[in-house]
């Protein structure tokens, strides 16, 4: 796991994508010395804020003080209550709250609309619908990321970029993220395929023209490989182009 461990610096600098971040947090939960190293690197990174001193507008103070008077504080034990709803983790009770907390952090950020992954790709005009969709999506993403059997897989994409996925066999679902791939062209889109012994079966089409997006997928049991092709917008019934990426699911 030394490769994962090398991400400690990027993690402390918030330089990981959400999925990688969740995967690294899982690693942290199983690695006591890593958790200590990360705590120190995070403390170190925070010192980089020392030089960013800038006097805020005076109204900020008034606004913040007015808002906290109307804001209920979370009890210290809140993370334990979140943990109770999670699937039991194989590693015993110590690691569970950590894993869940990490996934919850991803999801809280998503719920607040500050995380880009769904917001960017959906481009839903109605903001309320977006928020509702984000919350529902977030709950499913959270479940996958927090699953005790969640596994991370990734592969490069032909022409640039990376495809990363977290799969949970027990939930029969996964989160797939395409990042940094070249735009597929006007009227074209990346499509995901579950590949096993039979014909490739579609697992969704990414937004037209986008070279980066995140998708929840289902029915992942028995899948040997996740394949990616470029198809006309809206997708094809079967792949019409060669695979541009293929992520093997080794068990």
């Amino acid at each position: 796991m030394s490769d994962v461990h090398a991400l400690a610096g990027a993690y402390a600098l918030h330089a990981l994508s959400d999925i990688e971040r969740a995967a690294f947090a899982r690693h942290l939960a199983e690695c006591e010395s890593c958790a200590h190293e990360v705590a120190e690197l995070r403390e170190t990174a925070a010192r980089l804020a020392d030089g960013t001193w800038s006097v805020p507008p005076p109204r900020l103070r008034d606004n913040v003080l007015a808002e906290i008077r109307q804001t209920r504080q979370l009890p210290p034990a809140a993370s334990e209550r979140v943990a109770r709803g999670a699937a039991p983790a194989a590693g015993g009770r110590r690691r569970r709250p950590l894993v869940v907390a990490a996934a919850a952090a991803v999801v809280l950020a998503a719920g607040a609309g500050t995380v880009s992954y769904v917001a960017q790709e959906q481009r839903v005009r109605d903001e309320r619908a977006t928020v509702a969709a984000l919350r529902a999506e977030s709950a499913r993403v959270e479940a996958v990321l927090a699953a005790s059997d969640a596994r991370l897989h990734s592969a490069p994409v032909t022409g640039g970029g990376q495809i990363t996925m977290v799969l949970s066999e027990s939930l029969d679902g996964g989160v797939v993220m395409l990042s940094g791939a070249r735009p597929p062209g006007a009227g074209r889109a990346y499509q995901l395929w579950a590949v096993s012994s039979g014909a490739p079966d579609s697992r969704g089409v990414l937004p037209s023209g986008e070279g980066g997006a995140t998708r929840l997928i289902d029915r992942i049991r028995g899948m040997d490989t996740l394949g990616v092709t470029i198809e006309p917008s809206g997708g094809s019934a079967a792949p019409t182009e060669p695979l541009v990426a293929s992520v093997p699911v080794e068990s």
């Binding site: 610096g9 918030h14 330089a15 010192r47 980089l48 960013t52």
Partner: protein, 220 residues
Amino acid sequence: MGAQMIRERLAFMSDGANEGPRRADHLSAAPAPPADATAEANELLRAVARGDEAAFTRLYDLVAPRVYGLARRVLRDPAQAEEVAQEVLVEVWRTAGRFDPARGSATAWVFTIAHRRAVDRVRSEQAGAERARRLAATQGETPYDEVVDQATTRLEQQQVRRCVQTLTGLQREAITLAYYGGYTYREVAELLGTALPTIKTRMRDGLIRLRDCLGVEVAA
């Protein structure tokens, strides 16, 4: 990613850093945090966790300029920085009970939240950023070293700055692009034309060197 695109992105990085003379209130040098300021922040945050509004007000005065300054540094847009700073400071009030002193100092806890929020915001506003980037790209290019300088001169007269200077060029570039630019390590690798594993490693060993130089310790 082609060289042209990298130059465009670097030009965007420098947008704002090159916006000409800044108003004096945004120039004020940060006083080096007194040794007991950290301890004071820890005490204050514990009091805030018990719902002490007066303690929160004092904590606000202690951290708000850096929370706002950091958001401004990452986001470059004063209005967005103000919004993010407000979210962060209210979040500090709301979740103060979750602060665990065994995992680090109160100030680091606050700035970690602030950095995370600022970075999330900058990534979610990518459409806007793309616009700004194109705009910046048409206004000429900025040599990369200058960008890094802009980031590091903010640290003037501080221990942090001295320690940042002890890093290798690549360590410093990787860390400042990620921290102040809000870039992911993949983006940093592309920007610097350097292999991903190298960037990962430089971020980690660079931070380790900074940690040792600053004498940062967290009780095991």
